[in-house]
Symmetry: C2
Subunit: 438 residues, 2 copies
């Protein structure tokens, strides 16, 4: 048996993912060495506070507050601090020192990915970030490598476990958003300040990364139209359920032809109605899944745990072993292919289906009036369903109208909704939501 | 723009997958070149009969019956002829000539994979076979690369679309096996001779490949216990449904501790009861899915089309682009890691749960008698449910007993069933099926 070479691994950050990565590097050292062809020696863990409480007991001598010195001496750097700075400077410094970098920092990649990719490319080192999207689920590598001979046309992802848990709760129990959020917080699925999750920003960062890889084009956070789930009501969920749909917060990246005939990619995050028989509709609780449509492969789905220390550590270590093997065996770094260069489309250019809920007067001719208005705006109706309610006390009848349209532009839809509101037979527009998978 | 290098691609076989691969190589030449960094020139297609009818119109001058000459001059060889010979000799000849090989030949890999892996390893060329398991679904690369820092504990795969279509039909419509098979044949989901599919052999070959990659150990077809679906009756399906289960043909590879305390891997294919809420239960029609459990990642699922010319071509081209990039950029070939070396366990050593259906006399004390017998054989009962039927004409009551056990060995279960049959209160044992996911 030849003696194995040792590679020095520096870990930046020791939160719930970092602590598990450290534990596995120590506990599974033998089997990781066998699979890598090199010993992966954890040389240090950079943290802000050495004596902070942690999930895992780790040797105290590994901890340091001097991240810069730690990075200088490493062959491989794992960045799990999150945030923009000092993470970015440390990654750039590691790259310049010739270290390969593994990161799970979606916010940094979405905001300033190209700077990092270019630095890694120039230095000939590997920059890997499977953990940044959908935790444990292997999704970036399949998109980049397995589908490299195909053309992806659309990606629909449930990439935020907090919002999926909340929407699933609302769907199952009929709870309002605020109550489902409180329950998610109680169970540890939502943070005390849930803004980044429920506002859709976390999903938007992941959408940026998915879109960039899927369409071989650099997108950034500014290209992403983002709506969170705070406006989704129990009534929306109930109406969707009644019509055979479920509401999910989706990260969407899809190739589209805009109204002016130009091709582009729409990257967006918003609450979306999905038919209950769609594979993504069966993704419950805090699980994640990414649904990919490709010209030749057809429909694919990747499902698993999107968060949590140990699952996300699995993705980090997969990247680490690959990067280490490359150091041992040689070979080129992964290339970030940007040969696609399709423009990002603004949300107004997007073509999609819509669900519109209307509270209307129960009079003859109302349906005809509304249908006429949709037609005048060039929005074609796929399904129109009217339900009559009678108030037992007042004996007054009211009608609820649910409309699912064929694909229409945001602009046409907005104009239609505006016009509908002006009709005297309309009491209120109860919801306007986008629909996928129909 | 620098001039791109040209790589010569030889295609062996032009069935429904081969024809689509040829079409895409020709139609998408530009975008494949952009992603590969080299032109992929299809130099010829080796077939048995040049003028055979094909799905796709292809230039006649590409066809040849002289596969050996075609292979000699290629940088990359795609083998889609199927069967053992001449596929094996041609692949070995390609490898010896220094060509990288992409194949979808599960039967050959399951029977004689190690010969091919060793030849490729020795020659330093790439041998890729994503298309051999679960068609378009990227599963082998995620198992090999993405999960390289984790430890897989179990793989459950729906890897044969024909049997999944048949079982799904039986479940949905209540049809008997023969009728569902006839329907599958009518719709083109089953071949005129369906033996390899319904007998489980096709799934067994895929189980061998999945097990080898998942456990870093060489397994072959002889290590696989294989039962098909021909004995699954409409009554089995109905009883399973009634108890909240669905029956799927699963390819299973799992790490187990045998009764004697030794660790090993069980590789097997058999009809299996799964709870209806299990993610694999929602895989309908001819779709495939592979469910992976790993120590750190937890539960993952990969879902998509398992067969069909165009979807499978996507997997072939993904492998081709990767192999071609490696020729252009240099670097080591994928390694087949066999550092696991866990022994294959015989089916008798397997621990699993069982579902047992019994037709019993409706007498007091029957349940106690049966429960006692199970206990004596060390088989623990998890669920026991009795349903009483009364024949309207004869007024005779009979009882149906459904038992789900905790994990027990095949040997203990077989002994228990044998003993149960000897009880005077037992009219018949109506079904014995294995259960997963409980």
């Amino acid at each position: 048996m030849t003696e194995l070479r040792t590679l020095k691994v520096a870990l930046l950050g020791c939160g719930n993912v970092g602590a598990q990565v450290a534990r596995i590097l120590i506990d599974d050292a033998e089997s990781l060495a066998a699979r890598t062809g090199a010993r992966l020696e954890l040389t240090g863990i950079a943290v802000r506070t050495i004596d902070a409480p942690r999930d895992v007991e780790l040797p105290r001598e590994l901890f340091t507050t001097d991240a810069e010195t730690l990075v200088k001496d490493a062959d491989l750097v794992i960045e799990l601090m999150g945030g923009i700075e000092p993470a970015r400077s440390l990654i750039l410094s590691a790259i310049q020192n010739g270290a390969s970098v593994v990161t799970g920092n979606k916010a940094l990649l979405a905001q300033d990915g190209p700077t990092l990719y270019e630095a890694a490319d120039k230095a000939g080192v590997q920059l890997s970030y499977e953990a940044a999207v959908a935790g444990a689920i292997p999704i970036l590598r399949p998109i980049r490598d397995s589908l490299s001979g195909d053309r992806i046309t659309r990606v629909l992802g449930i990439v935020n476990g907090t919002t999926n848990f909340i929407l699933d709760q609302m769907d199952t129990t009929g709870a309002q958003f605020a109550d489902a959020l409180a329950e998610a917080q109680r169970l540890g699925y939502a943070e005390a300040d849930p803004t980044a999750d429920v506002g859709g920003l976390d999903a938007a960062a992941k959408a940026t990364i998915l879109a960039s890889l899927s369409f071989h084009t650099r997108f950034d956070l500014e290209n992403v139209h983002c709506e969170g789930i705070t406006e989704v009501s129990a009534a929306d969920i109930a109406a969707a359920k009644d019509a055979g749909f479920v509401i999910k917060l989706l990260a969407i990246a899809e190739k589209l032809v805009a109204a002016d005939g130009s091709e582009g990619v729409s990257v967006r995050v918003h609450p979306t109605l999905l038919p209950r028989e769609h594979p993504l509709a069966a993704v419950h609780g805090a699980f994640n899944a990414v649904f990919v449509e490709a010209e030749n492969a057809g429909e694919l789905m990747f499902y698993g745990q999107g968060a949590g220390g140990t699952p996300t550590a699995s993705a980090v270590l997969g990247d680490l072993v690959s990067a280490a093997r490359r150091i041992v065996l040689g070979g080129p770094a992964q290339i970030e292919t940007t040969n696609g260069q399709v423009p990002a489309l603004p949300i107004d250019a997007v073509n999609t289906s819509y669900y519109i809920g209307l509270d209307v007067a129960d009079q003859p001719g109302v349906l005809a009036k509304i249908a006429q208005l949709f037609a005048e705006h060039g929005v074609s109706i796929e399904i129109m369903r009217q339900t009559i309610h009678r108030d037992a006390d007042s004996n007054v009848e009211s009608a609820e109208l649910r409309i699912v349209t064929h694909r229409a532009t945001e602009a046409a839809l907005a104009a239609t909704v505006q016009a509908v509101k002006g009709l005297d037979v309309i009491n209120s527009v109860t919801s306007v939501l986008r629909v996928e998978g129909v």
